[in-house]
């Protein structure tokens, strides 16, 4: 190797924010090469993937609808990851939010909107929070690794949803499809404009609130210290157990809210597949947004574009929808790789010719 990494001695502020931009530029390049490798004209493929989805009628609305759950979940994950609490199971918390909110919606179809809708949202938040609480309890009480338990519980959550929509909650008039009846009007998330649901506004607003909270509260400081200097946090007397609970519950609540918004909004009922992997994509959103709720808003829009781009490529280029996952994986790799520039600078190796 002719290049060497030399520690900067301090974090580079410039590269903290330049690294995502570098990663995005490199990703577009690599995705272009990738399309070329599978026999598609790279220029046109990149245009189809990144630009075309925004041009058509309703393109922006579709972008906001996909971005809302990503932003909500990733905002919660920022709280976790800042504290070095690795909640990887947001997908399961999202699912339980949808199930709990959907259950209330199905149970009281005749209730008026002003009563039912808030109850549905509260149930959704409680569902996500409760599912995250299992992981928090296992971590704080039994020291069980939260990465693995939260992930395993995501599989369990999906199976629970499958059971409900194929069994007790299946719509008797649904021709046997794995889905519930459509929710009543009293449980429907209102639209602010054609195609723009309440969640699209709630997501950036909540991101802003969480940012203010993390920045200006002692709690935000405690979480950061626990993440970056756990020993210092211990000496300072910040209770680790308490912080793990707060971080897990906060991210579970956000994921649950995202889940209930999704099924009462764009989907309108419970089905067997309510998420194209939002809980996992949100991990990328959180990192790309620098674990900063405002960065998360921008990153959420970009990753939302990757879903639309994957669909557009499927229609225009005949590539499978899986291209979205490939894009997301490459983006996260290149982002993590670019982040090396925050702490190190690249030098020619001394003596290497």
């Amino acid at each position: 190797m002719l290049l060497d990494l030399e520690p900067r001695g301090a974090r580079s502020r410039v590269w903290t924010y330049a690294s995502p931009l570098l990663a995005i530029a490199l990703t577009v390049l690599v995705v272009g090469l990738f399309f070329a490798a599978i026999g598609k004209a790279p220029g046109r493929a990149v245009a189809v993937f990144f630009v075309a989805p925004l041009l058509g009628a309703g393109g922006l609305a579709a972008l906001f609808v996909k971005a809302a759950p990503l932003i909500l979940i990733a905002t919660g994950l920022c709280v976790c990851y800042r504290a070095n609490v690795w909640n990887i199971g947001a997908e399961g918390q999202f699912t339980l939010g949808a199930i709990a909110g959907g259950g209330v919606a199905l149970g009281f179809p005749d209730a008026p909107f002003w009563l039912l809708y808030p109850a549905v949202l509260v149930a959704g938040v409680a569902g996500g929070t409760g599912w995250a609480a299992i992981t928090a309890w296992l971590r704080t009480r039994f020291n069980a690794n939260e990465i693995l338990t939260s992930l395993m519980l995501s599989y369990v959550a999906q199976l629970l949803l499958t059971w409900l929509v194929t069994g007790p909650w299946r719509d008797p008039q649904g021709f046997g499809f794995p889905q519930t009846a459509e929710f009543a009007a009293g449980a429907a998330t209102p639209m602010l404009a054609p195609g723009i649901y309440l969640g699209c506004l709630a997501a950036p607003v909540l991101a802003l609130l969480v940012w203010l909270l993390l920045r200006h509260s002692v709690l935000g400081f405690e979480l950061r210290v626990m993440g970056q200097a756990p020993r210092a946090a211990r000496f300072a007397g910040f209770g680790e157990t308490r912080l793990v609970w707060i971080a897990m519950l906060a991210s579970g609540a956000m994921a649950g809210l995202a889940g209930v918004f999704e099924v009462t909004g764009p989907i309108g009922q419970l089905t067997n597949t309510i998420s194209p992997g939002y809980g996992f994509t949100a991990v990328i959103v959180a990192f790309l947004g620098r674990l900063h709720p405002l960065g998360v808003v921008l990153a959420g829009l970009l990753l939302a574009l990757s879903y639309l781009g994957g669909n557009a490529a499927q229609i225009d280029l005949g590539t499978p929808a899986a291209v979205t996952g490939i894009f997301q994986g490459i983006l996260l790799f290149l982002l993590l790789g670019s982040d090396v520039l925050i702490l190190y600078r690249v030098r020619r190796r001394a003596g290497a010719a």
Binding site: N145, T162, V283, A322, L332
Partner: protein, 307 residues
């Protein structure tokens, strides 16, 4: 009765083999200090590479080799970012899983629903026809025997060889190992590659033997269960083998009981392996001292040679 027992043991070995293969590789990587959460992705890439190559060439041996190489290729991507560029290992492993899922789905799009060439059973004339012992010991395919050899080989390597001692030193204190002149990053990259090869083989076992076909996400979380098994085993090979077979039994029973028509909804039974994994993690992790004693001290930490 003896017939039931025989078929039970054979089925459990089948369900346990992919877990054992993948977990053996991850165990060695983690003993070198590398936490690669991309096992699921490498397994899926191995499954499609093995399936596709065996389908095209008609040779399961070439398929198995391709699966191992595909796993190594993905592991080296991980090594480049997590070891070379000092990226966070947890996030890099997740990226590997997301990428592997997407890439395997893309590569496998043309193979969905096709019948696989299955791995041949290696029969020993005479011995394979013995009652009970024949099917239990002498009726498996090559990857099952390889999984036995691999876990024994890794146990021997770690406990009895100088190279194994060096690898453990790298995992326990990379600074000390570096000071003694060992190439920390090279050793870690090699261990990561071994983990990739084993995960790839686990995938090949799924698509060429256990359920001979290709389907998106066919590993269904086995890569994550393998990761949990390594923790459960306390990073010790003997316990790993025991855990893998215990989980093979759980996975087999959760499938088998579904065929009985019991009044238990099948999603509940399907959830058993995942709930079992959580339970196992809880049982083992509550003993903090055991985890602290056995976990490689440098696990998941980046290493940058200062000099």
């Amino acid at each position: 009765m003896i017939f039931l027992l025989t078929s039970f043991i054979v089925s459990v070995i089948g369900a346990a083999t992919p877990l054992l293969l993948a977990a053996t590789g991850e165990l060695l990587a983690e003993r070198a200090g590398v936490l690669n959460l991309g096992v699921e992705g490498m397994m899926l890439i191995g499954a499609i590479a093995g399936f596709a190559v065996a389908h095209v060439t008609g040779s399961t041996l070439l398929g198995v080799l391709a699966a191992a190489l595909a796993g190594v290729a993905l592991a080296l991507i991980f090594a480049f970012f997590a070891l070379g560029l000092l990226a966070n290992q947890i996030a890099t492993g997740l990226a590997l899983t997301i990428f592997g899922r997407g890439f395997s789905a893309l590569a496998g799009a043309g193979y969905v629903g096709m019948a696989a060439t299955t791995l041949p059973r290696l029969r020993v004339p005479g011995l394979s026809d013995l009652p009970f012992l024949g099917p239990v010991l002498f009726g498996h395919d090559g990857l099952v025997y390889f999984s036995f050899a691999a876990i024994i080989g890794v146990a021997w390597f770690l406990a009895r060889t100088h190279a194994g001692l060096v690898l453990r030193a790298v995992g326990d204190s990379h600074d000390a190992a570096h000071a003694m002149g060992y190439k920390v990053l090279r050793i870690r990259a090699a261990a990561t590659a071994f983990g990739g090869a084993m995960a790839g083989l686990a995938g090949a076992y799924l698509s060429l033997s256990y359920s001979p076909m290709w389907a998106e996400d066919m590993s269904a979380g086995r890569g994550w269960i393998a990761l949990a098994l390594v923790v459960f085993a306390g990073w010790r090979p003997g316990w790993l083998a025991a855990g893998a077979y215990l989980f093979g039994a759980v996975m087999f029973l959760s499938l088998y009981v579904q065929g009985f028509g019991l009044p238990i909804p099948s999603p509940f039974l399907s959830a058993l392996p995942y709930l079992g994994t959580v339970l196992l993690l809880v049982l083992i992790s509550r003993d903090r001292r055991l985890i602290r004693l056995n976990q490689p001290a440098s696990l998941g930490r980046s290493f940058h040679p200062a000099r």
